[in-house]
Subunit: 284 residues, 2 copies
C-alpha cells in the first residue's frame, strides 16, 4: 500500500471530509487530495467511489468547498475523491505565466515534452497512482469507480472514461471541454505538453476519441447556456454530433440561464451523483 | 428607496445569487451584501427573508459559498441575505491587529467609544439600514423576516431576536456565542466598542437578555461537541439554563463529532431553513 499523511479530517453530513498528502512518482513530488467518506463507510461498509476532476486554476479543495456534493453522497453512500489540477512541487520556467497552462492547468495528460514530462503526468496520476493510494487506503468497493469533472476536468473525465472504459463504470461532466484540439485552451496546452504530434493530441480529445473508443455507459453532460466559455472553448454540440455518429449514449442538457461557475455545478451535482449511483448499481 | 449597485448576479438552483454594494450611513462607507432569491421570487411572488450573520473573519461571501443553503431556500421559497461582519472602508489604528476585534469582528453592536463609534454600528446596520435596502429593493413579503447566524453571528442572531422580537418572526444559530460578557472574545471586544459600561455589554449578551426580553418563537441551536471553541467561548448550556429559567422555548442539539467549521454549518443548514419556514408559516 502506498502511504499518505492526514492533513485534516472533519465530520460532514454524518461522514468524514478529509484532506491527505502523499509522495507522487508521476508528479515528482508531494500531492494533496480530498476524500469524502459517507456514513456507511464509517460503519465498515466498502463503498463505490467517484473521482472528481476540477477545472483550470482549481485545487483539491474547490469542489469540496463549493460543490455541495457531500449531502447527496452521504445519502447515496458514495465516496468522492478530489485532486489537484497540476503538480505543485516541481517548478519550471513559465509555469505561472498564464492561468490556462502550467500550474493549475495540467489538462490530465502525461506530458512528453521537456521539462514538463518530468512531473506533469496527471493522466497517470489520476488513473493509476491516485487510484492505488485511495483504494488501498480507504474502504472502497472493488471495481465500483466513476469519474466526473468540470470544464478542463470534464475534458479529463470524458477522455479517461473513453480510454479506460474497463476501469470506470460511470462518467459525467459539467461544462466540459470536449474538443481541445479545436479550441484555444487545448491548442495552447496540448502542443506544449505533447509536442508537435497531432495524433497524441487526439488521444486527449473526447470528440476525436468517441469514434475510436467506446464507453459502455451513458455520459451525462450539463451545460449552462449563459456560460461565458460556451462558444469559444466548450462547444458541447460537437460531442453530441460525434456521439450520435458513433452510437455512443449521451444525455446532454442545456441549462437556461446558468454560467460556468460553481453555482451552476452545485445546482446540478445531485443529478450527477444519482446518475453515477444508478450506473454503479447503488440505486435503481 | 435606498440605492445599491449590482456587483454580480448568477443563476443558482433556479433562482439568483446576487452581490450588491451600497453607501451605508451606519458604517460610514460602502458595504456589500448578498441576496439569494428563490425561483418563485423570480416569478413575481414576494417571499419571506432570512438574514444570515457570519462569524469572525467572514464576509458576505462566506455563507453563500460554503453554506450550501440555496438548494433548500429554493425549495422552500426563502430569500437569504448575507452581509459583512464589520465596516471595511473606515480604517482605525489597531483595526487589523487581531482577528477577533476590529475588521471582520464587529460583534453586531453599535460602538459608543471613539473612534469605533463613527463607523462600527453593525447593530443599526443589520436591523435597520440593510433591512430597508433589501426590503425596498427586492420582492420580500412584508413582515416575514427571520435571523440566523454562526458563532459571532449566532450571538448577533440571538440578541437581535430577543431585542427586536416584533421585527423578527424566526431565529436560529449554529455554535453561537451566547454569553459574551463571560468569555474572552466578548470580554475583549465589548469594552472596546462600548466602554466600561457593563449594563451596555449586557444588552448584547443573550444569556443576560433572555430573562429581560422575550422572543415569541422557539430558538433552534445546533452545536458540535468537537467544536474547538465550545468550552472557552461558546458554552451553550449557559443559554439553555437561562432559557429554562425564563420560560423561553429553545431546542438545543449537541451534534456528535462536529467541529466549528462550515462542514458543520452546511450539514445542518437544511434543518435551520425548515425551522424558519415553519415559524414564518411557509410550510407546516
Amino acid at each position: 500500500m502506498t502511504g499518505f499523511t492526514v492533513k485534516s479530517e472533519q465530520r460532514a453530513f454524518g461522514g468524514t471530509q478529509g484532506f491527505y498528502e502523499h509522495e507522487s512518482a508521476a508528479c515528482a513530488g508531494p500531492m494533496r487530495f480530498g476524500v469524502y467518506l459517507p456514513p456507511r463507510a464509517l460503519q465498515g461498509e466498502r463503498v463505490p467511489v467517484l473521482y472528481y476532476l476540477a477545472g483550470l486554476t482549481c485545487t483539491e479543495e474547490t469542489f469540496v468547498v463549493k460543490g455541495g456534493a457531500q449531502r447527496v453522497a452521504a445519502e447515496l453512500g458514495l465516496a468522492i475523491v478530489t485532486c489537484d489540477t497540476s503538480p505543485r512541487a516541481a517548478r519550471f520556467p513559465g509555469d505561472d505565466e498564464s492561468w490556462d497552462f502550467g500550474r493549475g492547468a495540467g489538462f490530465y495528460v502525461d506530458a512528453t515534452e521537456a521539462p514538463w514530462s518530468s512531473a506533469y503526468r496527471m493522466y497517470t496520476y489520476v488513473t493509476r497512482e491516485l487510484v492505488d493510494v485511495v483504494e488501498g487506503g480507504f474502504p472502497i468497493a472493488p471495481g465500483l469507480r466513476g469519474v466526473f469533472g468540470h470544464s478542463m476536468g470534464g475534458h479529463g473525465a470524458l477522455t479517461i472514461a473513453l480510454r479506460e472504459g474497463d476501469r470506470y463504470k460511470s462518467a459525467s461532466a459539467f461544462a466540459p471541454i470536449v474538443a481541445p484540439t479545436r479550441v484555444p485552451w487545448g491548442q495552447k496546452a496540448l502542443p506544449r505538453y505533447l509536442g508537435n504530434r497531432p495524433e497524441a493530441w487526439s488521444d486527449h480529445d473526447a470528440v476525436a476519441l468517441v469514434g475510436k473508443q467506446r464507453f459502455a455507459g451513458t455520459f451525462l453532460i450539463d451545460q449552462g447556456d449563459r456560460d461565458q466559455f460556451l462558444e469559444r472553448e466548450l462547444q458541447p454540440r460537437l460531442f453530441e454530433a460525434a456521439c450520435r455518429a458513433a452510437g455512443q449514449p449521451l444525455t446532454l442538457r442545456m441549462q437556461p440561464g446558468y454560467d460556468h461557475s460553481y453555482y451552476f455545478v452545485s445546482t446540478f451535482v445531485a443529478d450527477h451523483l444519482r446518475h453515477h449511483a444508478k450506473a454503479l448499481a447503488v440505486v435503481d
